[in-house]
Symmetry: C2
Subunit: 177 residues, 2 copies
DNA sequence: TTAGGCATGTAAGGCGTTACATGATTAA
DNA sequence: TTAATCATGTAACGCCTTACATGCCTAA
């Protein structure tokens, strides 16, 4: 799902500034995708150029403590565009795992390095689990709840696996050399 | 993990042509990453230019039924490079899920479209599960076995979830409108 | 004879990251 | 006063995909 379309989806629920969208994506929606400022601001400007969103400058006095904030709102044209774009989406899921690649080639690592990788992954997973558990479960749609639960089940399975077989592999890899 | 380094890792075990590496990655190693020809061939040429791999042309008579095949072998320099590169790898894992993004925004989909997405994802997962189960479990390293088992546990968890909660959500989303 | 696998490669373009550039406000 | 947060943006570059270009061999 392109960042442009994803932003439209976010603006469908509420008006946001670019900075706020960045925060929403990288905190509340981190299980769906990530987005850097360098990708986000040009995306929003493209959307505005196409008439899918409109912006309103909010001066410093009104927005508490910030300056030159630009709040975006989705237009009718944007709403229509989003509805046609989301229908094109397939059920694809792309995993790019440096973790697994490293383990696949772990012959070239010391058992210490393997242990560190597993511990690191475990820590990341537990952090993600805490984040997901803290998310609100009310006032969100069934689909949003579903995405959170699905990710939680994936994260939980990964944690269980690493706590079980992950600990065992360190010894096996050690013995192999 | 960059494709260049990944290819070195593959050539560490055995000599391959570009075409063969493409097949290995997209079938046996599909749980780690993907690679298109457009990315692969330039990567191999870069590696050769840097002296990390060497190539030998195999004429049509020897290679059964193919023509102008170019078989690559890793050099000592390449082996050294791989060992330093793999140590730099972190336990990062990036999931980019169109499936979850679509479900997050499923307010804008009909219950039929949601059902189709879930069924599609389920079919993909089951296909991936069959692929993983068919992979050899002997004659591979502990690390390789680990990567397969880890992915299998993730795939199994996703299938269980979709078969359970996935079926339930279709009714809930229907009721919501 | 035609579809599919084997085989190598280029070109254009998409989509993103990191780093840079700037500057105000606020809390420790 | 210094670090953090708020706030917007550009430039360079990385890494990949899709589509194109070519051609041979094999089995249905």
């Amino acid at each position: 799902m392109k960042l442009d379309v994803f932003c439209l989806g976010i603006l469908l629920q509420q008006n946001y500034s670019g900075y706020e969208i960045h925060r929403v994506i990288n905190t509340a929606l981190a299980h769906l995708r990530q987005a850097s400022f360098g990708a986000l601001y040009p995306a929003l400007n493209r959307l505005q150029a196409k008439g899918f969103i409109s912006s309103e400058a909010v001066p410093a006095e009104i927005s508490n403590g910030s300056l030159g904030k630009k709040v975006f709102a989705i237009t009718d044209k944007g709403r229509a565009h989003f509805k046609t774009e989301i229908k094109k989406i397939t059920a694809a899921e792309m995993v790019n795992s440096d973790f697994l690649s490293a383990l696949h080639f772990s012959n070239n690592l010391t058992s210490n390095e393997v242990s560190t990788l597993i511990d690191e992954r475990l820590a990341d997973l537990q952090k993600e689990q805490r984040r997901l558990l803290k998310l609100p479960s009310t006032d969100i749609s069934e689909g949003q709840r579903f995405a959170i639960r699905y990710t939680l089940s994936q994260v939980s399975a990964a944690i269980s696996f690493l706590k079980g077989e992950g600990k065992a592999i360190q010894l096996l890899i050690q013995r192999q050399r």
